[in-house]
């Protein structure tokens, strides 16, 4: 849960007094034009950026001052909007890194000697076929859609309770997004909380039951997707801003 958090960069109020809540087994969408503070909000929740004021509560504990690593250990994972893989490493070794973390060792039993196996399973889950050449290719040679899915696999290796995906679908083909939606739905069904930052609204609305709309760092609307999109202020915020073709 996020309670009235704000973050200012120089004179820019990137996030301005935003409050929102996600429950276990719920998926929340965050939408808004470019530069409206979506990524900053993800950074605030995951600890990459510290809030100027406001609280970040996870399971009732204020984590606003906790480190990124401490939050991962509590069960918060995030993907990056621009994929940040370990370019020199083969895809499956990319997943070994999070599997070395304490959380993974405790929750997935990825102790010594088991990591390769777990890594291959996770890659299969996000749609790398086992034994496919992509698994052993260096990340630098993988196409964009694969890198996005590699980001997702890296998050899943942390067995997250709260998973924040920053524009996971952007740059993916419709076939790729379609293959991932069942996985996301299953994650929610397992009782995890999902936060999806998305421009691809059609896909987003297949997963989430509620959206929050940001504009200039402020929450301007919240509610059921279809209902929110009809509101005047939401339409105005998106005017001039880009709404993806699929919306």
């Amino acid at each position: 849960m996020v309670d009235r958090v704000s973050k200012q960069f120089g004179g820019v109020r990137a996030v301005d007094g935003v409050s929102l809540e996600v429950r276990p087994g719920e998926a929340l969408g965050i939408i808004g034009p470019n530069g409206s503070g979506k990524t900053t909000l993800v950074n605030l929740i995951t600890g990459f950026v510290r809030p100027d004021n406001g609280r970040v509560l996870f399971r009732g504990v204020d984590i606003a001052k906790s480190s990124v690593e401490a939050r991962v250990r509590m069960g918060i994972a995030r993907s990056f909007q621009t994929p940040r893989p370990f370019y020199r490493l083969p895809a499956f070794r990319n997943v070994i890194i999070p599997l070395c973390s304490r959380r993974a060792r405790e929750r997935l039993g990825s102790g010594f000697g088991r990591r390769e196996e777990v890594a291959l399973d996770l890659l299969e889950e996000v749609g790398f076929e086992r034994d496919a050449a992509a698994v052993t290719k260096p990340a630098s040679e993988l196409p964009h859609g694969y890198l996005k899915r590699l980001e997702l696999a890296r998050c899943l290796a942390l067995d997250p309770q709260l998973l924040l995906l920053d524009e996971l679908f952007s740059g993916m083909s419709p076939a790729e997004t379609a293959s991932l939606i069942p996985l996301l739905l299953r994650l929610v069904q397992e009782g995890r909380s999902l936060v999806l930052v998305e421009h691809r609204l059609a896909e987003l609305f297949q997963v989430v039951g509620r959206v929050v709309v940001l504009d200039f760092g402020r929450k301007i609307a919240e509610g059921h997707p279809a209902e929110v999109m009809t509101r005047e202020e939401v339409r105005r915020a998106y005017l001039g801003g880009e709404v993806s073709a699929s919306a």
Binding site: V68, E69, F86, L89, R93, I96, C100
Partner: protein, 339 residues
């Protein structure tokens, strides 16, 4: 121009090399010797040399001791470079090992061997704490701080006259015989070279390399980057602090010269000459440089010029490093194929 009948040279990995990289399938003794031979030969050479004292004379035995100490420093440098921490001030580790051993033996009255062990470990941990705050600095900024620290220490010792001031701490009892010191360093070197290389090839090395390339994603993966870097510095410093500690007991004195630039430059040049990226390469580089610099004593003041000339020549003609070149030649065969 490819005239008819022209040939080009083709390089191919030997079959055994290809197989042993991935799956470990040995087809008999010959292949076992092929793989283990070089490192066993190097280890035997290091272990046997001290026994040849009657034949080599004391002078070259001392050169050997110093060479092994510098090999340790070079391995230490190569390890830290490998994980993205390029040190320009390795004499910090070297000097810290020497001074702390001196304190342990002179002030705390520990027996020499225990003093060396304590000096080595405490110095490495202390350097880790000292460098802790600057570990978040990237690339050249980290290097600059490491460059400044030993100079700073030397000036502080000179100005405040602590730790014996310019005189240094004298009267350190020798650690057993010359052979004892040699074998302590040789064992340390073998453990450091093969141990650190193994560490780098393991999942821990994977994480350390990942931190070097992309620490944001490593943090997002739930790995406390700061602690890992701290651990890498402490582990990586150990060979260098051991070298400083043992040489202090050898010279019976440790002074400001332990923080001298030479001890920062030599590990670096050795690693680059031998082949950066591998622990064994750094060790080979130092094993060549130290005796070379001794042989060049005959040149008097021109020694440095000759030294530099050899170095530049080697770097220009074998940019991949001598060790890497030899290793590649060992694992590949060449043949002429028609174009």
């Amino acid at each position: 121009m490819t005239a008819p009948g022209a040939y080009r040279r083709e390089r191919l990995d030997r079959g055994i090399k290809v197989r042993s990289d991935d799956i470990f399938a040995l087809a008999g003794w010959a292949e076992l010797v092929y793989l283990a031979g070089p490192r066993v030969a190097a280890a035997v050479l290091l272990l046997v040399f001290p026994l040849l004292r009657n034949w080599t004379g004391d002078y070259w035995q001392t050169v050997f001791l110093v060479a092994v100490a510098m090999m340790l420093a070079a391995v230490s440098w190569a390890f830290l470079e490998n994980v993205g921490l390029v040190s320009l001030g390795h004499s910090l580790f070297f000097g810290a090992g020497g001074y702390l051993t001196a304190i342990a033996v002179l002030d705390l009255r520990l027996p020499p061997l225990l003093a060396v062990v304590c000096g080595t470990v405490v110095a490495a941990a202390g350097c880790g704490v000292l460098l802790g705050p600057v570990l978040r600095l990237r690339g050249v900024y980290f290097s600059l701080v490491t460059f400044a620290l030993p100079l700073l220490f030397a000036r502080v010792i000179e100005a405040t006259k602590i730790l014996g001031g310019t005189e240094g701490l004298a009267g350190i009892p020798g650690l057993g015989s010359l052979e004892a010191r040699q074998y302590l360093l040789v064992v340390g070197l073998l453990v450091a070279t093969f141990g650190l290389q193994r560490l780098l090839d393991s999942d821990y090395g994977l994480v350390l390399h990942a931190i070097r390339d992309n620490d944001l994603s490593v943090r997002a993966s739930g790995i406390p980057v700061g602690w890992w870097k701290f651990g890498a510095v402490v582990v990586g410093a150990l060979p260098a602090t051991l070298a400083g500690a043992v040489l202090a007991t050898h010279y019976h004195v440790v002074g400001m010269s332990a923080f001298a630039l030479d001890y920062s430059v030599l590990p670096l040049t050795a690693a680059v000459l031998g082949g950066p990226g591998t622990m064994a390469g750094a060790a080979v580089g130092a094993a060549l440089l130290v005796p070379l610099s001794e042989l060049l004593r005959a040149f008097g003041t021109l020694r440095v010029v000759a030294y530099c000339a050899v170095l530049v020549l080697a770097l220009v003609s074998v940019p991949e490093g001598l060790f890497s070149l030899v290793r590649r030649r060992y694992h590949q065969f060449e043949r002429w194929v028609p174009l």
